[in-house]
Amino acid sequence: MTRLVRRQGWVAGLLVLFVVLLVITRLIQPGYGSGDFGSLVRAVLPYAFAVAAQTIVVIAGGIDLSVGAMMALTSVTAASMMDGASEEYALFVVPFVLAMGLVLGAVNGMLIVVTRVPDIVVTLATLFVLQGAALLVLGAPGGAVAEWLRATIIGTVPIPGLPGISAWIPKALVLLVVCLCIIWIPLKRSKLGLSIYAIGSSELAAFRSGVPVARTKIIAYALSGLFGAMGGLALTMSTGIGAPIPGPYLLASVAAVVLGGVALGGGKGGLLGPIVAVFVLRLVRTDLTLLAIDPNVTAIIEGAIMVAVVMFGAFITMRGRQ
């Protein structure tokens, strides 16, 4: 038990922080209820997928600067394909866009492996490419989304007999958990997942132990692309349109990954920490808005929190090592 706490200490701390923040929210705004929680989850949804995309690449020892651009491209593709199309057509659009993300992510990985250019430079270049492609698909925000897709993230999951609890389980949360678990849990338990941690920890050691480094890296980036595409779809689903200029998803994803206890060097951490971290970050923003604080001051506070927490984390690891 103590070992579990020590290993998951960071995540547990984040969860406590989240609960404390919820209590604070309740104190600030006594009327804060299930409906507000639902809108928080809907706002978090695209961020959470961006964070998942970043997490998997960072664990593999890389970094993906093209997350935001990937989301923009998949979002505008989905929105422009569904524009004026029938409801059933969306059944085809969703897998298509997900496959597109997977392929584009794999291309990212292949470029890194083949050219031997550092990850940060390759994904910087693909950031420009994907952003350009998004602008070509849709020059200005527009498009549409199928009604049933919108409905999948609005409202709550009905549990018969327990209306009190079911009000606190928004559909968006279920969608998020399902999408993440379907990919993450089998991955974490497979040889592939171990290989991803191995190449992040030490590429040379992994290579010498017989891990196919190039293939693992490509798969890690492909999965990141898949999460990115989910993020793009989530974006289209929640706004109803596609926007070719991405929001601040890159910065938010890197921040949440670090806050979530994933080392930027790679090989450490899990998916749960970053996801909780992104909830914490969004809730802080909600609280600051509820306190009627100037949104610009909010940006300062967010940045300060990010820097302070990361410094604190680094300080703790330093003390632990001595």
Binding site: L111, V121, V122, F128, V129, G303, M306, V307, V310
Partner: protein, 326 residues
């Protein structure tokens, strides 16, 4: 081994080895090629005025890329340069309304020093990853700037004539900005190649543990480095506002990612320990000419970005092949 060795080396190998020994040559060839393509596409465009314009727009990029080069030599990166440049430009333009230009410039450089100090302490003392640290401080800086903007909205902004002269003026066809850039460039090259501080940067980036064991005070080197980088970024902001002449809250932001690209194209390793500033300058020139080229082709904005990304990737990959293949 002289060239007249008994075993005749094939010409291709010899050429490659020659280029690997002098990494600047392939870069210069690429730059000349781009200019030639430009001239072929639009005959007569390459003239004195075009040259002066290109240099004028390359200089801010080259100074920011100098910040990246120095931080990248230690294995870091400074993504706050865009925010710092914007802050100093905006603060100068609004303070100059009430103050003497010299005082306004001094006031404008204070946040630059502060941000550099915070970056340096975060990276050097607390060992935060430079990417996170500089992203975080740039977020804070942008927020502060937005709040600040609210307080000066009534007073308006203006650009002191001598900054406009420095940014856009020409003397005998030579951009005045070179007056600022040449000393900075010489100073950076001299610092990196001939001073103890420069050696320490290479040493820290090459092998931090070894540098530490040889008695290098890591945190002092890093703190000094990030402060220098921020001050340079602040000066760039002052120069850039003289060139653009329209203060805005995202003035220098579009230069950040190209500045990283310029340093990488110039042959500085993002993992530290290898590279230099002369390559970076040529990298900045290449990117500027490339932007002109893509603008002249009159492509849609999307296609231009795609090509820009692809070319940056291709050039970096090709260049790494050339210098690594020894």
């Amino acid at each position: 081994m002289s060239i007249s060795a008994i075993q005749p080396v094939p010409f291709g190998r010899r050429l490659k080895r020659f280029m690997a020994d002098r990494p600047l040559i392939p870069l210069i060839i690429l730059l000349v090629m781009l200019v030639v393509i430009l001239q072929v596409l639009r005959p007569g465009i390459v003239n004195e005025r075009w040259l002066a314009n290109t240099v004028k727009f390359a200089i801010p990029l080259a100074i920011l890329a100098g910040c990246q080069t120095m931080t990248m030599l230690t294995g870091g990166i400074d993504l706050s340069v865009g925010t710092v440049a914007t802050m100093s430009a905006f603060i100068m333009a609004t303070q100059v309304v009430n103050h003497d230009p010299a005082v306004a410039i001094l006031i404008a450089l204070v946040p630059a020093v502060l941000i550099g100090l915070v970056n340096g302490i975060g990276v050097g003392v607390f060992r935060v990853h430079p990417l996170i640290m500089t992203l975080g401080t740039s977020l804070i800086g942008t927020g502060c700037l937005q709040v600040y903007q609210r307080t000066v909205i009534a007073s308006g902004a203006k650009i002191p004539p001598f900054l406009a002269w420095l940014g856009t003026g020409l003397t005998y066809g030579v951009p005045n900005a070179l007056l600022l850039f040449v000393p900075i460039a010489v100073l950076i090259v001299f610092t990196l190649n001939r001073t103890g501080f420069g050696r320490l940067l290479y040493a820290v980036g090459d092998n931090e543990g070894a540098a530490r064991l040889s008695g290098v005070r890591y945190w002092q080197v890093i703190t000094a480095l990030y402060v220098i980088s921020s001050v340079l970024a602040g000066i760039t902001g002052l120069l850039y506002i003289g060139l653009i002449k329209a203060p805005s809250l995202s003035l220098a932001e579009p230069l950040v990612l190209p500045s990283v690209a310029a340093a990488v194209i110039g042959g500085t390793s993002i993992f530290g320990g290898r590279g230099g500033y002369t390559g970076t300058i040529i990298g900045a020139l290449i990117l500027t000419v490339l932007t002109t080229l893509l603008t002249i082709l009159q492509m849609p904005e999307g296609a231009r970005r795609i090509l820009f990304g692809l070319i940056v990737l291709f050039v970096t990959a090709a260049y790494l092949r050339i210098i690594e293949d020894r």
